[in-house]
């Protein structure tokens, strides 16, 4: 497969289509013409691409990406971040609001979206801040941002500090659409401030201040009560603790409008993986115990946890090559998410491939209201696709398409590799490489 400029006509031949939204898991040709999936009649004159042995799925959708622009362009830009997304098989990302200036108004939101359009590598859905300046005090202009197309609001990086502000946010946004989502970074600041890893036997032996699991559980419980009372839509970011999963399970049974995400790194690692003080595995919330990881895996499999999201958090080298307690938290994730999920969950038989695609694409597209993404892969639908080799093995190493290299998976041997990414009919990634 060679690089090509897109708006042509091509057909993936002999690939396995995994399209949970369309209820399809079968070997079938996929024709792309003029930006959309076409019927078999369009096959004439189409460029043929051998997809035997490959999986074709709806393009992945990330609910949780830090693109860092504006303000922290030394870590990542919209251009480099969406390039990383495309390389990882993503056709849409939700860009978190903790930029400088904060995306707490329609102007910043529009600027971020425009940068995404200019890069042309992946659709960017800006997330708006819940509170002005992420200060946790006064509501940001949620209505103005909703009118500018924002579907999700989050103060990610910290929890909304008071129940009162969160209740007002969950209530207020209902004026501007029934589908608007308040997304919460669930960690109680008073319990985690100054902490660097999961609080437990490992933090004790490593001599690092902890961030206890109950810091998450407390905020999750509070938020679920408020979502239930207000009827607002709550999304819980990067769930990491076993008891959070149980709280969400019960709330869903009670009819609370809640969705939840989990990251590949919380599904793959535990606090045992911090014994070398690897700062690339320092993140908020922290990697927890094997018991927590098992609960996350079970919750993802049974749908209690709806989606897989990367929490792609690029940092400059000097911000990570530092003492553990000084290093900034976060790992990049866009380029390794699919391979990590295949390696850790699908190949060992913990998760079906169909549910993996569901959680990486279909469900996050629905949560984000990104109707052009997540499938189904049918005639006339926008051609937003990922094509991957489920069995190709590779070693995670720098450089990345991302400007950053702080990957928790550095050095890992993963099985599963993105071959192509199609954004509205354009091959933005071919042979695993960006075409522009």
């Amino acid at each position: 497969m060679s690089g090509r400029d897109g708006h042509g006509r091509f057909v993936f031949e002999g690939g396995r289509i995994v399209d949970p939204a369309g209820g399809v898991d079968a070997v079938r040709d996929v024709v792309v013409a003029d930006g959309v999936v076409a019927g078999p009649e369009a096959i004439e004159g189409a460029e043929r691409i051998d997809a035997r042995g490959l999986v074709i799925a709806p393009g992945l959708v990330d609910l949780h990406t830090h693109l860092r622009e504006p303000g922290d362009e030394h870590k990542e830009t919209v251009e480099t971040g969406t390039r990383a997304a495309a390389v990882g098989g993503y056709t849409a990302v939700a860009a978190m609001a903790n930029t400088t200036p904060v995306a707490d108004n329609a102007a910043v939101v529009q600027a971020v979206r425009d940068l995404g359009v200019a890069a042309g590598l992946c659709d960017v859905f800006p997330v708006g801040a819940i509170t002005r300046g992420l200060e946790g005090d006064l509501l940001a202009e949620l209505g103005e941002m909703a009118a500018a197309g924002v579907r999700m609001f989050s103060d990610d990086g910290r929890a909304v500090p008071t129940a009162r502000v969160l209740r007002n946010a969950l209530t207020y946004v209902q004026a501007f659409g029934d589908d608007l989502v308040i997304a919460e970074h669930a960690e109680d600041a008073s319990l985690v401030d100054g902490g660097h890893m999961h609080e437990g036997i490992r933090s004790a032996s490593l001599g690092l201040a902890g961030r206890p699991a109950e810091a998450e559980e407390i905020v999750v419980a509070r938020d679920l009560a408020l979502a239930g009372a207000t009827g607002g839509r709550l999304h819980l970011c990067h769930v990491s603790a076993a008891r959070s999963v149980e709280l969400i399970r019960r709330a869903k049974a009670d009819g609370v409008r809640v969705t939840a995400e989990v990251t590949p790194h919380h599904l793959a690692f535990t606090d045992e993986d911090l014994l070398t003080y690897d700062t690339n595995r320092k993140m908020h919330p922290p990697l927890r115990t094997d018991h927590d990881r098992e609960a996350l895996r079970a919750g993802l499999a049974d749908g209690t946890i709806d989606a897989i999201a990367t929490d792609h958090a690029p940092h400059a080298i000097e911000e990570k090559e530092a003492e553990f307690d000084h290093a900034l938290p976060g790992t990049i994730g866009l380029e390794t998410a699919l391979a990590a999920i295949l390696t850790e969950l699908v190949h060992p038989g913990h998760l079906s491939l169909s549910r993996a695609i569901d959680a990486l694409s279909v469900v996050p597209a629905r949560i984000l209201g990104a109707g052009a993404h997540g499938g189904p892969i049918g005639p006339g639908r926008p051609a937003n696709l990922v094509v991957f080799d489920p069995d190709r093995e590779w070693t995670v190493e720098a450089p990345f398409a991302s400007k950053a290299r702080n990957s928790a998976f550095l050095g890992a041997r993963l099985r599963g590799a993105v071959v192509a990414t199609v954004l509205r009919g354009e091959l933005v990634v071919a042979d695993g490489k960006p075409t522009r």
């Binding site: 002005r132 006064l138 509501l139 940001a140 202009e141 949620l142 209505g143 103005e144 009162r164 502000v165 007002n168 209530t171 207020y172 209902q174 004026a175 501007f176």
Partner: protein
């Protein structure tokens, strides 16, 4: 007629009609050169205002004076209340001085009802906390009936900070009582969650409501810091809930624009909208005096005359 005027809930549809009809006859007094009748000569009305108010106090004062009552104005600042006297003791003092009616404005919801348990005078609620403001509702009903010739079936939107508005409560209760069709409009944070139990509709979409209205009633939006927890900014409020000239274009031509005052021009109502012919805000003020005359007369004068 009841002994007191505390809540619109206490008034039957017949009571409301009687009050409006009585006000009708008193309104003519305000057009005379000598704006005075002797109906309440020798009676004492105390304006007991423990919360700042100009227009309501003046309206009550004029109403009582046009009925020839003796009027005492009592406000919190510089009074015994400022010196720490309790509400009850102050009320008992007013009673001891022979007040026949006490008009009370207080920041505490329910205080007029409490007052009735301590004094024998007739009590008129001139606004209590975030509870009720029945005389405002009655003057609004009067204005609507005068302009549109009916109350039953009228489609009225009450737009703004319903949660903290005593006007919105009293007007909602009164309109529902008279068979009108009421829709509360505002940001969800400023609409009481259980408001539909009042018998009203709730909408967050003013543009969807305006075309089907007989009256658009705008509430004052408080801009104080503590209100800003409920909506992000005055600018955003005005964009989504303010009555602009463009939005007036969505309303039927004959529909009324009302506001209890004082207005925030440029926030809940644009300046040029407030001055449109369909805006009856000044008439509301004029009618307020007639309504208050009617209430004082019905409480203090009518019974006495009927008895004699």
């Amino acid at each position: 007629m009841n002994e007191h005027v505390l809540s619109m809930h206490d008034l039957s549809a017949e009571d409301v009609t009687r009050i409006l009809d009585t006000a009708e006859s008193f309104r003519e007094v305000g057009t005379r050169v000598i704006k005075k009748v002797p109906a309440l000569r020798g009676r004492t009305v105390v304006n007991f205002f423990l919360e700042n108010s100009t227009r309501t106090r003046i309206s009550f004062e004029l109403a009582a004076k046009r009925l020839s009552a003796d009027v005492i104005n009592f406000s919190a600042s510089g009074s015994s209340v400022a010196k720490g006297e309790s509400l009850k003791d102050t009320a008992l003092t007013l009673q001891a001085m022979g007040a026949d009616a006490i008009v009370i404005r207080h920041s505490s919801s329910g205080s007029p009802l409490q007052l009735t348990k301590w004094v024998d005078a007739h009590v008129l609620n001139a606004g209590d906390g975030t509870h009720e403001h029945p005389t405002q509702a009655l003057l609004d009903l009067y204005t609507m009936r005068e302009k549109l010739h009916r109350l039953e079936g009228l489609r009225v939107a009450i737009v703004g900070d319903v949660l903290h508005s005593r006007v919105a409560r009293s007007l909602s209760f009164g309109l529902v009582q008279m068979g009108a069709d009421v829709t509360l409009v505002g940001p969800p944070t400023l609409i009481p969650p259980d408001a539909p139990a009042w018998g009203v509709h709730v909408s967050y979409d003013i543009d969807g409501v305006l075309p089907k209205l007989d009256v658009c009633y705008m509430l004052r939006v408080q801009k104080e810091r503590q209100r800003l927890e409920y909506f992000p900014s005055v600018r955003e409020y005005a964009r989504f809930f303010g009555l602009t000239r463009a939005r007036v274009g969505l309303m039927p031509d004959e529909a009324l624009i009302m506001h209890p005052g004082p207005m925030n021009r440029g926030v809940e109502i644009d300046s040029d909208v407030a001055d449109l012919p369909s805006s009856v805000i000044e008439e509301q003020v004029t009618n307020g005096i007639a309504i208050r005359m009617a209430l004082l007369y019905l409480l203090l004068g009518a019974t006495k005359e009927e008895a004699s």
